[in-house]
């Protein structure tokens, strides 16, 4: 595997460099996958510094190295249950062969016996078409099994993926050991986000140095981000866009893509999706989309979701809506989550629409502590993170709400029913 820059290696736009989603365009742009790809993959990935693009950001090389043993299973996870995220869907429809190449490489690296691609129902036809193109060309050693993921928030959680691939429901289950040790039917299982696999497919061709040529040195490369939100006229749902950017890109540049030129039009930016953190306007200028660039704000890039909250919307109300959604998306298997998330959503409704006092705030904090870390998956943890970040980012709104006012509308919050900034229907 050469580490010198090959002619034709994509520069900034890597994932969507091919002119179309088909196999022909894919090979025209990227060339064939090297035969040796897969052997010695781990050291190359370690050198490249690639981290998982599914949200957790675990080093890709280390994860593959941890999957040892016979009859390993490799799963590409494209479930993307997060409503604010569209990057995996975009990748699967525009560059399925990068994902399938990455799956092939990873399968070779762990000597997998079973290869699965876990995607939402609507992505299945495109993926099946891509797979049949490859089987005509006799590209892949393993038959890729396509498993459909239901459109639920927790369907992309690692243990839910494993369970669904086994034929069970797409719900998390208790894990005492990670899937790399015991996953699908007790076999060592590698679960990688589809974007991670696409990066692996490119690193296998162009090398680790090429990968590192862009992005934050501590976590190099590019990443796909989904942008949404921003100034709205009527308060209806805003369109989203998917971009590929180098890691460490400034948040101000990202919101610029949403048409936000003046930061004062924003109240805050949600980074990392519904399990992420709110960054208040005043902190946006210093923030970059990387672990290092967000650590000082207690946030992390997650799966690259950037959602801008306009200044005329109340952050507490928006958070209350999101918490209500997250409560509804609980798998309802674990007591603290099933009971605590709806209770937290109700309390945030009170924060948003009723007069705030110390007792309510104490109760909110207590409820957050009750749900955090007490479940068989990360759903309550992520929800707690979002709620805590809202209390920090919208602290000034909390003060306003103590006096029945809201910075967003400058009108009385209660007494006239729900304030007009409440965007009905949108999440």
């Amino acid at each position: 595997m050469t580490t010198s820059r090959r002619t034709g290696a994509p520069t900034t736009q890597r994932m969507f460099a091919a002119h179309g989603p088909g196999l022909v365009e894919h090979h025209q742009r990227f060339g064939p996958l090297p035969e040796s790809a897969g052997t010695a993959l781990v050291p190359v990935l370690d050198r490249s510094g690639l981290t998982g693009r599914g949200g957790a950001g675990f080093p890709a090389g280390r994860k593959i190295a941890s999957v040892t043993g016979r009859r390993a299973v490799v799963i590409g996870n494209g479930a993307e249950g997060e409503p604010l995220s569209h990057k995996d869907a975009e990748l699967l429809s525009r560059a399925p062969h990068l994902v399938l190449d990455g799956l092939k490489v990873a399968a070779a690296a762990v000597s997998a016996e079973k290869v699965v691609l876990y995607v939402p129902f609507r992505a299945v036809p495109t993926i099946k078409a891509a797979i049949s193109e490859r089987s005509s060309a006799k590209l892949d050693r393993h038959r890729v099994t396509v498993v459909a993921a239901p459109d639920r928030f927790v369907a992309g959680q690692e243990s839910a993926v494993v369970r669904r691939v086994e034929g069970g429901p797409a719900l998390p289950r208790d894990q005492t050991v990670p899937p790399s040790t015991s996953g699908v039917r007790g076999r060592p299982t590698l679960v990688n986000n589809v974007e991670t696999l696409a990066h692996i497919a490119l690193i296998a061709r162009y090398g680790s140095r090429w990968f590192r040529s862009l992005g934050d040195p501590s976590e190099p490369g590019t990443m796909l981000v989904t942008l949404s939100g921003g100034p709205t006229l009527s308060g209806g749902p805003t369109p989203h866009s998917v971009l590929e950017v180098p890691t460490g890109t400034r948040l101000t540049d990202l919101v610029g893509h949403l048409g936000v030129t003046d930061l004062r039009a924003l109240r805050a930016v949600l980074v990392g999706g519904y399990h992420g953190s709110w960054i208040p306007r005043e902190m946006v200028t210093g923030a970059r989309l990387s672990r290092a660039g967000l650590a000082h704000l207690g946030a992390s890039p997650g799966a690259g979701i950037i959602h801008a909250l306009p200044a005329d919307q109340c952050g507490l109300a928006r958070t209350a809506d999101i918490l209500g959604y997250l409560a509804g998306e609980s798998a309802r298997q674990c007591g603290p989550c099933r009971n605590g998330l709806p209770q937290l959503a109700r309390l945030f409704d009170d924060l948003a629409y009723r007069r705030v006092d110390d007792r309510l705030l104490d109760e909110v904090r207590r409820m957050i502590d009750l749900i955090d870390g007490r479940g068989s998956c990360r759903h309550p943890d992520g929800t707690a993170r979002l709620a805590r970040s809202a209390l920090d980012a919208f602290a000034s709104d909390i003060t306003h709400h103590r006096y029945g006012r809201c910075e967003a509308t400058l009108t009385s919050v209660y007494g006239t029913g729900r304030p007009r900034h409440h965007t009905s229907g949108s999440r």
């Binding site: 298997q333 099933r338 009971n339």
Partner: protein, 186 residues
């Protein structure tokens, strides 16, 4: 003389087993509620439930062994496992055999529950709701004491308490936190 002693002891063991089975059933329902019972904390309710079940099992085995050696009962080994093949009152005896079969499966799966897993343990444990009435029917139909007042009084008390426990079991606020909790997946 020995025969009569075996017959009496065998029946006595059976009646005592039935009493312990009733206690085990009641405590099993109490365990399911997640509530303490009188002076017993929750872990003790579960513990005494297990003790009563094991005691009942031992007494049933004693009951079977004593009657096996009593020639009047005319029991063969096969009658302990396969129901309704007995010579003396085959139907009522058969219910006893059936009860023992159920008891054996329940006890074995309970003792091995950590190995067999929660699903199998729970699924088999539902059979205890069948076990108790079958055992009671066996006692009433087969037992020589069934005609005696004291036994009917005893059986009646058992039945009343079990029915009361079942009514409680089906009540909405049966479990301790039923009111404050949101119910789980069906």
């Amino acid at each position: 003389m020995i025969d009569q002693a075996l017959w009496a002891l065998g029946r006595g063991a059976g009646v005592t087993a039935l009493a312990f089975m009733t206690v085990a059933l009641l405590l099993g329902i109490a365990t399911r509620s997640g509530r303490p019972l009188l002076m017993l904390p929750r872990f003790a309710v579960a513990d005494v439930h297990r003790f009563a079940s094991l005691a009942a099992t031992l007494l049933v085995v004693l009951h079977m062994a004593l009657l096996f050696f009593d020639p009047y009962a005319q029991l063969r080994v096969v009658d302990f496992i396969v129901p309704f093949l007995g010579a003396y009152r085959p139907l009522w005896l058969g219910l006893g055999t059936l009860a023992f079969d159920l008891l054996a499966v329940v006890i074995v799966t309970s003792l091995l529950r950590h190995r067999l897993g929660a699903r199998i343990f729970r699924a088999v444990h539902w059979a205890t709701y069948a076990l108790w009435p079958v055992a009671m029917a066996h006692a009433l139909g087969n037992g020589t004491d069934a005609g005696h007042a004291w036994f009917l009084l005893f059986a009646g008390c058992c039945a009343v308490t079990v029915c009361g426990a079942l009514v409680w079991r089906l009540h909405a606020n049966y479990t301790e936190y039923a009111r404050t909790r949101i119910s789980g997946r069906p």
